[in-house]
Symmetry: C2
Subunit: 382 residues, 2 copies
């Protein structure tokens, strides 16, 4: 995928993953980067998250980020903190920078396994040599249990570009959970503005997805702008939102063991918070997720999840559509269960819930829960 000007990426194998697959990645910009970050809300934070947040609060520009997959370098005590500093320092050295402050870090993978810093010492210079104006190896090197790379590109008028690359795929839950997203652009965007808008955009995209309700300690969504191209601001924000939304959906569609993307639209709620809570509760419910897996038009479980979400006190006016077919309207309605079940046997299942209580609306994206999810997670470390 063609990159915005001034960016080079790399992804190589450094032996961090036992499989030998690509696991060490770099993003480098020829020009200093304006940047914004939204990070996990988990009280357990990997050292890379804490360090990036420190850099973030200084508001200084950065030049590069080094990412490894296969080891989250999380919950490794003091050693984890120093190892993370070392990774930044080694990358800065390999890139010929005078200070590690120009380099951010990100790690994803198993929690609680010490990093083998020797691998970074040996392979970071090789990663620098492998830098090129292409996304493929980078996108491959940041994934863990994902089944494929995730990347989205938008071309702006005047030649600017926005390219997003992300990874999932388990431990995904609203508020940044085991996911990493990197959005790169050559657009000339003010850093303060970028930092103001990026949380709003992540709230509409990455914070609306759920795979298993577990929120991870390593998750971060970045946007980096090297300001080479003048752009129409409105077009830029639309493009950035599009990239974030597409990446979010790609992540959940590739949720561990997932075969279907579930879109939950909640309309006519009393408050936006209520709409959001209801949508997320439905998207997260294991019983809804298993029903979708089995193409079972079980609207009772949907209604039930709306009930415990607390979004609405009068449950008597709610109506529910499954694949655009009305299945509940304050009471059961006659519908062709076989037809609805058949219509659910595709990759996209849409649940529309009308709360008939107000004017607010929201959406959440989830995936079905399959026997494969259990298999993938029952022995991930062993």
């Amino acid at each position: 995928m063609k990159l915005p000007v001034g960016f080079k990426l790399a992804g190589i194998s450094a032996g961090i993953k036992e499989s030998g697959k690509l696991d060490l990645a770099l993003i480098v910009s020829e020009y200093p980067l304006n940047w914004a970050l939204v990070a996990t809300t988990n009280h357990l934070k990997a050292p890379c998250v804490s360090r990036n947040k420190g850099r973030f609060s200084s508001s200084k520009k950065v030049r590069a980020i080094v990412v490894n997959s296969g080891n989250a370098n999380c919950a490794n005590g003091e050693k984890g903190l120093w190892d993370n500093e070392d990774v930044a320092g080694l990358a800065a050295g390999a890139l010929g920078y005078s200070t590690p402050h120009d380099v951010l870090t990100a790690s994803t993978g198993i929690i609680g396994k010490p990093l083998d810093i020797k691998k970074f010492r040996k392979f970071l210079p090789k990663a620098v040599k492998a830098l090129k104006a292409d996304t493929k190896n980078f996108a491959e090197a940041i994934i863990t249990t994902d089944t494929h790379r995730k990347q989205v590109s938008v071309k702006l008028r005047g030649g600017g570009r926005i390219v997003g690359i992300a990874k999932g795929s388990g431990m995904i839950h609203p508020n940044m959970a085991t996911m990493l997203a990197f959005v790169l652009t050559d657009a000339d965007i003010d850093q303060d503005l970028l930092r103001e808008r990026w949380p709003e955009i992540t709230n509409k995209s990455f914070n609306r997805i759920t795979v298993d309700g577990d929120t991870s300690p390593n998750d971060m969504a970045f946007v980096f702008a090297n300001c080479r191209k003048r752009v129409d601001e409105r077009e830029f924000w639309d493009g950035l939102e599009h990239v974030a939304m597409e990446l979010a959906q790609k992540i959940v569609r590739d949720g561990e063991g997932a075969s279907k993307l579930i879109t939950v639209n909640v309309t006519n709620a009393r408050t936006e918070e209520g709409a959001s809570n209801a949508a997320k509760a439905v998207a997260k419910s294991p019983l809804v997720k298993t029903a979708v897996n089995g193409s079972d038009p079980n609207w009772g479980r949907i209604l039930n999840a709306v009930g415990y979400s607390g979004a609405v006190s009068d449950m008597g006016n709610i109506s529910i559509k499954l694949q655009s077919i009305l299945v509940y309207a304050g009471k059961p309605v006659d519908f062709d269960a076989e037809l609805v079940s058949e219509s659910m046997q595709i990759n996209d299942v849409v649940i529309d819930i009308d709360l008939a209580a107000g004017k607010a609306s929201s959406v959440a994206w989830g995936c079905d829960l399959s026997a494969d999810y259990v298999k993938i997670n029952a022995d991930y470390t062993t």
Copy 2:
């Protein structure tokens, strides 16, 4: 199982379950009953829950409860309300009572399927004829996806008894989720006291279990006392708590697809609420549950769930034991992973978490998440 004096139970097949298994049940007391009830917090409430809560607020004694399994009679609109009234009326008629107010109701099963009231009209007289001083058929007739009956008995000095009967097994989550529990006693207990203490006891038992995090619209836990026997109060409350705790653990042990009971002990939390939140977060985490299923000593997922529970801000002092073996102490500790994994290959897995932040403690019980859970739920209605 021997019942307290004055109680008779029945469980028969009324054709509500397609399988033809027992599905219509009665509890009847020769003497008026003092009673207490804790019911679901879901905003979606089945008519039986609403009606019982109405009866509850009147503080009047009752005589009987009629229970059906296979159909939750929930989300059936106006018809559901009337059908539920009819069930109470038909049971009262069959029992020769002058008013349906003496009869409570409970339903469990599929949501959103209209009740066939003809079956109740035909079979309630037969259920009355089948009443006897035994628990077996009743315990069998209230279950749905449970694999076996759940009953616990305590004998008090002086001849009094407490007998508890419950059903699970999916949609189980703290705050009364798809579970019914009926505790019967002949002890002479003041109704006000019973109603004061029962919520406290359910908070320590039924509200500490989780199977899948879904909270159902039909769940209720009752205690009925017909006051025939003088008892030592302290012995009675201890016995009641024991019965509730045992039933709660039986429910979660028989969680859908579950092969293991997970006990999560959290100690030295700053607040009891924090301890409770941490214990529940760990017991509920799909990633912890799948790890336990695979006997994988993956303490990182446990630490992660503690992190997002918000129970503790300083994660650096936490220690974790798996099957009494220390696996984390602020940083990874050297432990024999194979040995711990082997020790997890039994029906009881105990996770001890020391937050080192205060003096409060709590416990939660969950079960592992297996591929069978998905199979059971992917096509429950179809």
